[in-house]
Structures are given as C-alpha cells and as structure tokens.
Symmetry: C2
Subunit: 360 residues, 2 copies
DNA sequence: CACCTTTGTTGGATCGATTCAAATTTTGCT
DNA sequence: AGCAAAATTTGAATCGATCCAACAAAGGTG
C-alpha cells in the first residue's frame, strides 16, 4: 500500500527541476550530462532541486529519441524465449554475444513471442540498434520481418544463399567431410544420416529432389560433405537413408525407428547436431544397442554438453562462442556493408565412435 | 559495399511520407496504428508512398516517448552477462521469467556490465518498465542503484530486511531445517557448513559475530535453520565449522581443504547451494572420499543439474521457475504496492546422502 | 578605457511519433 | 435541395530530453 497517495501526480521532468532551480532547461540538462561545464554553485542548486522534487534522473526515453542510439542489440528467434536458456547451442552462442556486449557496455534484448503475429510486432517495436537472428526453423520469415526494420542485422548460420544479408557461419561441407571420413576410416560402410530440416515443417526420409531444392542450404551442405567423403571410400551414397528431423526428441526417435527397422541397419550414424546425436545415443542405449560397440555416432556443433554425455560424443566442433562474438561485433561496429564470414570447424574425437562390430 | 551511396541520406520519417501522400501527419500516423479509421483510398495512397520511399514503419523510438510503456522488463545482475546463460540457477529462473513474458508478449532486456561504473550507467539508461534483480553479491548496491530509477522492481531472494523493496524468495529457515534434520535422522553427528556469502568480499571460517551482523539475511537464515534442527538432535552447533564461500570453485575448494584438514572431519556437509554441493562432490570423489559412503552432502536450490550429477544430489528444492514467473508478473502487473512473497521449499532426497560410515 | 577572451547560461529547434478537439466532408433521409 | 448525423481529416500540442548558436558576464591586456 505504499505510495498510493502520490500515484496520481505525474512524474517529474527535467523542466520541472529547471524551473524549481531557476535555470533554463538547457542548463539543467547540462548538470546531468556534462556537469563539468556548469558553475559549481548552479550545479549544486540544480542537484538540490532534483533531490527535493524526487527527480529520478534524465529519462532514457527522452534521451533516446535525441541520441538515436539505443546501445543494445536484439537477439531474435522464432522459438519461445526460454530457448535462449535451455538450448546448449543457443547458450554457448549467447555466451559469446554476452562477452562482446560486456566489453562495450551494450545491453542485450531478447526478442521472441508466443505466436507469429506477436513476433512480427515485437521485431517491429524492439528498441535495439540491430539484430542477431537465430535462424532455426522459420528462418526466412524471420529474415524478412527483420529486413523491414532497416536496421543492421546478421544471421547466424548462413541459412540461405541470399547474398544481401550478413551472415556468420561455418564451413558445413568441410565439417561434414571430417565427420564422414572419420567414420569411414574406422572401417564403417553402412551409414544413416539424421538430418536437420531441409525446409520448414517437413520430416521423414528425404529424396534427392528434396535435397536439391532445400531451403536451408546449411543442411544441404552438410549432406553434400558427408556424401563427398563417403564416395571417396567407395560407399554407395544413394543407398544411405537420410531422415529429416526437427532437431527435437520426437522426430529424432521417429527417424531412428525408421532407420533401425531396416534389415541391414547402419553401423554408423551421422547426426547433423549434437542434440540429435545425444538423443540417438540415449535411444540406442535404451534398446541395448552399444555405442560405439554396435553403432558409432558422430554429432555436429560441439556444444559443451557433448563432452559430458555417456559415452562422450565425437563431434564436429564449431567455434560457437567466436561466432557469437563476431556477430555482436558486426552489429556494434556496423559500417553499412554486408559481411559474410565462414569459420573453420574441427573434429573432436571422443568415445562415441569406434570401429564397426567384427561379425556382420 | 552495399548501400554506400544512400548512406548519407537520413532515414525517412513519418512526416516525409505524409507529405509525399498529400495528407496530414495525423492521418499518416493513423494508417499505421489504426488503419481501420482511415478511408481505404487514402490508406492505400499512404501505404504506396511509404513503399515508394522505403519507409521502415513508425520508429519505436518516437512511439516510445509518447506511449511511455516500453513493454520490456529488465533483468539485472552484478555478474557479467554470461551469468544468465551459464549458471543453472539463473537459467532456471530465466525460464520462469521467459514464460511469463512470452505469455504477455513482453520482451526481456539483460542488464549488466563489466565494471561497477558501467553497471550504474546501464541501469540508469535501460529502456524497461521495471527490473528484476538477481541479488548475488553486491546486491545492496544493485538495489540502491535501481531504486533511483523510481521504476517498479523486485528482488529475487529476500536478501535483506528492507521492507520497502518488493522481493520474492523462499523460506530459508524451513528449508535449512529440512536439510539438517534429514542428515541427523540418518545418524550423522559431525557436520560442516559450506555457506554462501554473509557479506561482500569476505570468505573463510565464520564467527558468530559475523553471522549476527550478516548483510545477507538469506544466508543467515539458512544457517539458523541448520543449527535449529541440529540442536534438536543434541548436536553442539558451536563446534560446527562454517566456511563462507563465494559460491564458486576456488573458495569452495579452499573451504573443503580447511574443513578436511581437521583431525575429526565431518561425515556430513550442509551446502548452501547446489553449485557448492556439486563442487564438493567432485572434490571429495577426486580424493577418494566416497559420497555418500564416507561423507553425505545435501545441497540447496534444486537446480536441474543436481539430478544429473554423480551421485545425484539430495537437495532442498526451491520452486525456481515459479519464483521467476511471479517476479515477472509482479513487474508486468505492477500496482504500486510493495509485494513480499515467501514460497515453500521441498526436500528432494537423492543419492548423495546416506547413513554415516560405521567405524569412526 | 576600449577590446578581446574565456567561461557560463539561455531558449529555440529537434528527435519521431501519437493524440484529440475542432474542422471538414460524406452520407442518409425527407 | 436542405439538414442533421456520421465518418474523415487536420494541425497543434505533447512526450522528455539534447544540442547549439547567440548572448551575457567576468577577466585580461595594451
């Protein structure tokens, strides 16, 4: 019940204290923004007036309009807000973004929403100097929405070929080659791929046609990398089942059901994300299929959790934090140019991959 | 090098398109904010003009000043920004906050900074409707800083006795009693406490004097709860070492060194956070001390990770997400009153606690 | 003492929108 | 056609600050 009596009085403005102190609003403003240029006696008088009236200091809302710069960068996704705190990949990325923001004193505004309509509104009304976009699914919509704000923005992962948008990602082809070569060198010849989305809203086994017309070229590139490397080992890539998941538990499990219903199940799984890989490990282990004894798995991303699961995951590690750092820098130091960066990846061999079982 | 030619032309304003379309700016504004009240013919004309000039839509910076509401809540801490994505407790809390924000379409602005000076500035200039404060260390400073903004704010964990600030926390005394009673009932009689900070910047063994003058009453209350319960079992609480940590690895390890240097080391450890407890488990295990065979440990908080460590941690679970949800609601539905809520906790028994070893 | 600096202060213009009472146009009806 | 009611449109006021050119006062110099 505190402060209910004074609740009808409207907040104190700078002009109010200027009047109270008997100075112009210009001087009053200076007292707060450049105190050194106003005479001490006056400065004290204004400060006293501010104190007496209970002035909260210059309202950033007012300052903002004049200054133009918000000094905050928006991070947007089509997922719910909690994605930023739950998903390991997002978290690692946010750590990198945080670091760059901490260094320059910029703030972070998280932008998302329950539904598409609100998302559009939230992007339109976000008070930020630029956006970093997490382009998971619905990435293209997100890009379109953001483009209309006419603010600098950068997409994480070069999701599409559109050269007009800044993007930071990794060399997916090279990374995928690394993963596939590793398994082939261990002796594997029967593979399955658990893929990320090629397009919005579809899941299931993927046809070459779908691959060719993939909306998400990152997914396609990884597949290309897998196949390139495997071809070099004489593997018939046409016979490899490629199951498109939504990078979640349900679709990954469905994919595994499909793949292992086969008469000749694979001895090695190429998973396009660590998330998928870890779900797969759990699924296989629960069914008594040994990893890597019976089936080897290689993930993609290199999230911190991957080192901690059982068995620890062999994976293609992206420099996630570095991507985040660069993305933030791109917005913070925006110079009007489109910037597309491709970073290198690294194969991290752990315990989820080994030679295929002897007897077939 | 895109768009370098047009970079010197200043952004299009609503007034520009009003002129171009030959209507007043009032009408132009209505086209965007209340399209239904303007005649279709005019509406189309204005939209066409906007399209032609490349207008990005009403600038939120301008709208904000008039509207007054930002529609975002600030979450502040004295830790670096990455704290929100690294710390399990913070993450669970943010998940609850996210949920409430998603539901109402509000945004989240993360506020922090590398140093104290920037922190002050960032709090003063954050564009938010209110704050949620993570009061770890330096909590009192954070509260003072925020209070000056004269915006609604709520402190997480009733860190201090100050009744003028809204706060949401748990019943620390009751929770601590639960933990201590559990261990006493298992037969333990020799205890040690790994505490959270009692005041800023101090660590080490704590004297009763320090406890009495504790800045953080949450820490004090937990200790009081521990001692109350143990006294009932005839344990001499005066002989229990209480080591103040900073809730991090270094100080916790130092505390363990101190505690286990004793001739009669404890058989049970009361840790005031899961973080501390998990660090302790790791430290003990690495030294060949079995948990719970040789030493039992009970944590506090109930972060998700606690269920996954080895052995799974017995702990006093706070309704973390619920606290977050309520905190967000408190800001979102602010009614001018001070609100202090105390939520219940629950003992979750897992494998880190068991009877003390037989032979002493 | 006139003149030039230096230092401080003033008040109008501006940032980009929304709002609302008043003015204007349309529509409906006889 | 005439007139009241309804539907649109206008333009000034406002939100809360910062910026800056112009001015005033004080200090220094020949």
């Amino acid at each position: 019940m505190a402060s209910s009596t004074e609740s009808n009085t409207r907040p104190i403005r700078l002009a109010d204290i200027a009047k109270a102190a008997g100075v112009s609003h210009g001087t009053a403003s200076n007292v707060f923004s450049r105190p050194e240029i106003v005479r001490e006696e006056v400065r004290e008088r204004v400060k006293a007036a501010a104190e007496a009236l209970g002035y909260a200091g210059p309202d950033p809302k007012g300052r903002l309009l004049r200054a133009g710069k918000v000094n905050a960068i928006g991070v947007a996704t089509t997922e719910p807000l909690s994605y930023f705190f739950d998903d390991p990949f997002a978290r690692a990325m946010m750590a990198g973004i945080s670091e760059a923001c901490d260094a320059t004193g910029a703030g972070i505004a998280l932008v998302s929403a329950g539904n598409q309509e609100k998302l559009a509104w939230n992007i339109q009304s976000a008070l930020v100097d630029g956006f970093i976009l997490f382009c998971i699914e619905g990435g293209s919509r997100l890009v379109e929405l953001t483009r209309e704000r006419k603010l600098p923005f950068v997409a994480l992962e070069l999701g599409f070929d559109d050269d007009t948008v800044s993007a930071i990602g990794v060399d997916n082809v090279a990374g995928a080659r690394l993963a596939a070569r590793h398994l082939a060198e261990l002796g594997h010849r029967r593979f399955a791929v658990l893929a990320l989305p090629f397009a919005d809203g579809s899941t299931g086994l993927v046809s070459p046609e779908q691959v060719r017309t993939a909306l998400y070229t990152g997914t396609r590139d990884r597949l290309v990398g897998y196949f390139e490397a495997l071809s070099q080992f004489g593997v018939d890539t046409a016979g490899i089942p490629v199951y498109e998941t939504e990078n979640d538990e349900a679709s990954t499990r469905a994919g595994l059901e499909t793949i292992f219903a086969s008469a000749e199940p694979p001895t090695a799984i190429l998973a396009m994300s660590d998330r998928i890989a870890m779900i797969a490990i759990e699924w296989l282990t629960a069914r008594g299929i040994a990893v890597p004894g019976d089936v080897s798995i290689v993930g993609f991303d290199g999230v911190p959790d991957a080192a901690l699961c059982d068995p620890p995951l062999t994976t293609v590690a992206q420099p996630i934090a570095e991507i985040g750092r660069r993305a933030a820098r791109t917005i913070l130091d925006f110079d009007g140019t489109v910037r597309r960066e491709t970073l290198g990846v690294e194969l991290v061999v752990r315990a989820s991959s080994g030679p295929p079982p002897k007897a077939v």
